[in-house]
């Protein structure tokens, strides 16, 4: 039964994706076309994968936090801005920019992400503050903190190496953020496979008291998921800042926290915690990106795009709601019963009876 509900979870965003792609195909049959420019692939699909990379990574972390704590972190965009400001600061402060210094700066920014996650996580896990309220603190203060770290408005990353991370490394046909996202997804998949994080987090999210009586420390697990989310924000911030080429503490990854939560919801994950599907959230994140680009392609006025997006999401949420699901299940059962009845009415096949 688990498999079937799980299948349905992923089925819905997938079919939405299919509908969106169909709309795009109707608009222009060249939707899937890919062109080679300077040795790298460009086109609608690569652009979607490129554009959604930060959102996908944030959605993965958000899924884990949602599962263990039954709440959402609304400070992910801000956290990414802070950790990337540290990255920029360290990088610009070093004597020369090489792959090594970039790696060191990145690792330091990951550390910052973990500290931010631990801060949010300890408020949630130890002081039992509602996740949204706990992360509201950083949400409010974060961009000012990032500005203070920057020391000035929008420091610029003017060098080849970081811009290669944000776009294309010569000789590699795929844009770097797409590769980074794929690697990150793989790391998360391996981590989930190699540990009991899923079982522990789901148990803590569903029934923390019972989890504790079975030897799981709910505080530690919640803290761990927030720290993992911290790493996710650092990676997302790293990609975002290399894409932009400068650190705009006011606008970097603005409003992405809501999209990350939305991706988790579209992925069929209960926002109240417990069972979770990372693949659902990833598909959800790509769906949001495709939706944004489809609306742009349909020449919806950028000023009104948010309203159209809202309508679309409203329909999606209603269709995937438990009420509609129950109706759908009933309908399927009735159909099956009718089918069985007509089959039974048919004269019996003697061969089959023998078998």
């Amino acid at each position: 039964m688990k498999k079937r509900t799980h299948g349905f979870q992923v089925l819905l965003p997938l079919s939405v994706l299919a509908i969106l792609i169909l709309i795009n195909l109707i608009k222009g049959a060249d939707y899937f076309s890919v062109t080679l420019i300077n040795g790298a692939l460009y086109g609608n699909i690569p652009n979607i994968l490129f554009g959604a990379s930060e959102l996908v990574i944030l959605a993965i972390g958000m899924t884990l936090v949602t599962s263990s704590s039954g709440g959402q972190d609304i400070s992910v965009g801000v956290a990414a801005t802070i950790s990337s400001s540290v990255f920029v600061r360290v990088l610009l402060g070093s004597a020369s920019i090489t792959w090594t210094t970039i790696l060191v700066a990145f690792l330091i920014s990951c550390l910052v992400g973990i500290v931010i996650g631990a801060f949010n996580g300890s408020l949630v896990a130890m002081f039992n503050v509602q996740p949204m309220v706990a992360t509201l603190i950083l949400f409010t203060a974060g961009r000012s903190i990032a500005f203070l770290i920057d020391g000035r408005l929008s420091p610029i990353l003017a060098n080849d190496l970081t811009s290669q991370i944000g776009s294309v490394i010569p000789g590699v046909p795929i844009q770097t953020p797409i590769i980074l996202t794929a690697v990150f997804i793989a790391v998360v998949a391996v981590f989930l496979k190699a540990t009991n994080l899923r079982l522990y987090s789901e148990a803590v999210g569903i029934n923390p008291r019972a989890a504790r009586l079975n030897g799981i420390d709910p505080v530690r697990i919640k803290l761990l998921t927030y720290m993992i989310l911290g790493v996710c924000t650092a990676v997302a911030g790293f990609i975002a800042v290399t894409k932009a080429g400068r650190h705009d503490s006011v606008n970097l990854l603005k409003f992405c926290e809501m999209d990350a939560i939305l991706a988790v919801a579209i992925g069929g994950n209960p926002l109240g915690g417990g069972r979770f599907s990372v693949s659902g959230s990833i598909i959800g994140a790509y769906t949001i990106e495709v939706l944004n680009r489809t609306l742009l392609r349909l020449e919806v006025d950028p000023e009104t795009i948010k309203a159209f997006k809202a309508v679309f999401i409203l329909v999606l949420m209603v269709v995937s709601s438990p009420v509609v699901r129950a109706y759908a299940a009933k309908g399927v059962a009735r159909l099956r019963a009718r089918l069985d009845a007509t089959v039974a009415k048919k004269p019996r096949d003697p061969e089959r009876e023998e078998a």
Binding site: K2, T195, A203, I206, R209, N214, G215, D217
Partner: protein
């Protein structure tokens, strides 16, 4: 009446509009009625108290009694409190209207749920397992209340697992088995053993055949577990306790006497505030449940829904949970291994489930309990604590669990067994620790293990 999974609770949910009926007819005073929701049922005078308490623990007693009942958006708080106080008083429920519900014991909460249903001016009152968390005195109060309502002309449907209670209060008995109607009988014309065999669909595997095995007492043997001066934040007075290898002992006493709190202190389920613990003679420190687990202690909690099951997870995950945690965060079992563990116990304990991937919440109470039992058996504990493992489950499963306890003891596992039913404990335990007012008041062995003596000690006689 009916065993676990016979369809009692489901039938009641259909009768009260929680589930919509697919076919058939419901008539009240001769008029055919179709309930679309529980509110519908209430409007027609069908009041219900469900098996699991469905009140809001964070609201006050009075709010719980009247919530969702007003026709108006405004609430007259003073009047509400007064009415609540009157009702509580007339039913003899020891709770204040302004008290938060979560500060009441389970039994009191149950009685408040009944009070809520009664005040709805109901013609028909449906009680699904109302007595499973009440002690005898409270059951008596409830029964006198039920008789009072009966004389006022209220029809009562009473669902229970307690055979004695059915015979004490009911006029007619309807038996269900495996979701089917078996029959309806006059209570006076249906002998108890016949009722049980109808429920089980076979001749009763006589409970009398359960024989406990007396562990040979060797002087100077080191106990498997020994505690001195143990106390916990849940308010249990410092107590001494020990258990030998292969021994079955039990804590008994009235509800709220501290028997659950005592075993919770042993397992560190509540914060331990003092005391020394020795495992096989060696000093040990149990500050968290995980420490107890690592020392080979298993604990089946009293509150199955709140402390036992992880409702949304599969039966498989629920079964392997404790062993998996002992195994370690970095060493998850493979799917195949987990499947094998779960299937082994689903078979050996005869857990009725569609598959091991079914969410545990969709199983009946008794089968959920068996799954939790399987969870601990899988860890092969040296010392197993079972707090009310037989509560709210059918006769057949109760017998199975008692037999299992004795079998475990024969294999050398030490078991602490708690049950509200004294006969069950007398059948299984070779030593009974009697509690009153959160401290140990007596310890009974051998010839003292009779119902009479136990009752006397509980009641405070000599």
């Amino acid at each position: 009446m009916g065993e676990n999974g016979a369809g009692k609770s489901t039938l009641i949910k259909v009768m009260t509009g929680v589930y919509e009926k697919d076919s058939g007819q419901i008539a009240i005073e001769g008029n055919a009625i179709h309930f679309k929701s529980p509110q519908d049922a209430q409007a027609f005078g069908v009041g219900t108290v469900y098996q699991e308490i469905t009140l809001c623990p964070n609201l006050t007693v009075a709010e719980n009694m009247f919530i969702g009942r007003g026709r108006y958006a405004f609430v007259n708080w003073k009047r509400m409190r007064e009415r609540a106080a009157r009702l509580l008083d007339s039913l003899g429920i020891p709770a204040r209207p302004t008290q938060q519900l979560s500060s009441c014991s389970l039994a009191i909460q149950q009685m408040i749920a009944i009070a809520r249903a009664i005040d709805m001016d109901c013609k028909i009152l449906i009680l699904d397992e109302p007595t499973s968390s009440l002690d005898e005195d409270e059951v008596r109060k409830l029964f006198s209340l039920m008789r009072e309502l009966k004389s006022r002309g209220v029809g009562i449907v009473f669902v229970t697992h307690f055979l004695d209670q059915v015979y004490e209060i009911s006029d007619r008995i309807t038996v269900l088995r495996n979701g089917e109607f078996i029959g309806e009988y006059e209570a006076s014309a249906l002998p108890q053993f016949e009722l049980v065999s109808k429920m089980m669909g076979k001749a009763l595997d006589d409970v009398a055949r359960i024989r406990k095995h007396e562990p040979s007492t060797r002087a100077g043997e080191t106990p498997v577990f020994e505690a001195t001066g143990l106390s916990s934040a849940a308010g249990v007075r410092p107590f001494d306790f020990s258990i030998r290898k292969g021994e079955v002992n039990g804590f008994t006493g009235l509800l709220g006497s501290g028997r659950s709190e005592s075993v919770r202190a042993i397992y560190a389920a509540d914060k331990v505030t003092g005391g020394d613990i020795k495992i096989k003679g060696k000093k040990a420190n149990i500050g968290e449940p995980i420490h107890a687990m690592r020392l080979g202690i298993g604990y089946l909690p009293e509150d199955r829904k709140g402390d036992g099951i992880i409702a949304d997870l599969s039966v498989r995950d629920n079964i392997i949970l404790a062993l998996q945690v002992l195994h370690g965060f970095w060493k998850p079992f493979s799917r195949k291994q987990a499947e094998a563990f779960a299937d082994e116990y689903i078979r050996s304990l005869n857990i009725k489930t569609a598959s091991s991937a079914t969410p545990i919440k969709s199983l009946s109470g008794g089968n959920q309990q068996k799954a939790i039992l399987a969870r601990w058996l899988l860890t092969h504990p040296e010392y197993l604590i079972l707090d009310e493992p037989t509560r709210g489950i059918d006769v057949g499963t109760k017998v199975e669990i008692q037999k299992l306890v004795l079998k475990l003891a024969e294999e050398g596992v030490s078991v602490t067994f708690i049950s509200s039913e004294i006969e069950e404990m007398l059948r299984t335990c070779s030593r009974l620790i009697v509690m009153r007012d959160r401290s140990i008041v007596g310890e009974l062995t051998g010839g003292d293990l009779t119902e009479n003596v136990v009752m006397r000690v509980i009641a405070g006689g000599s």
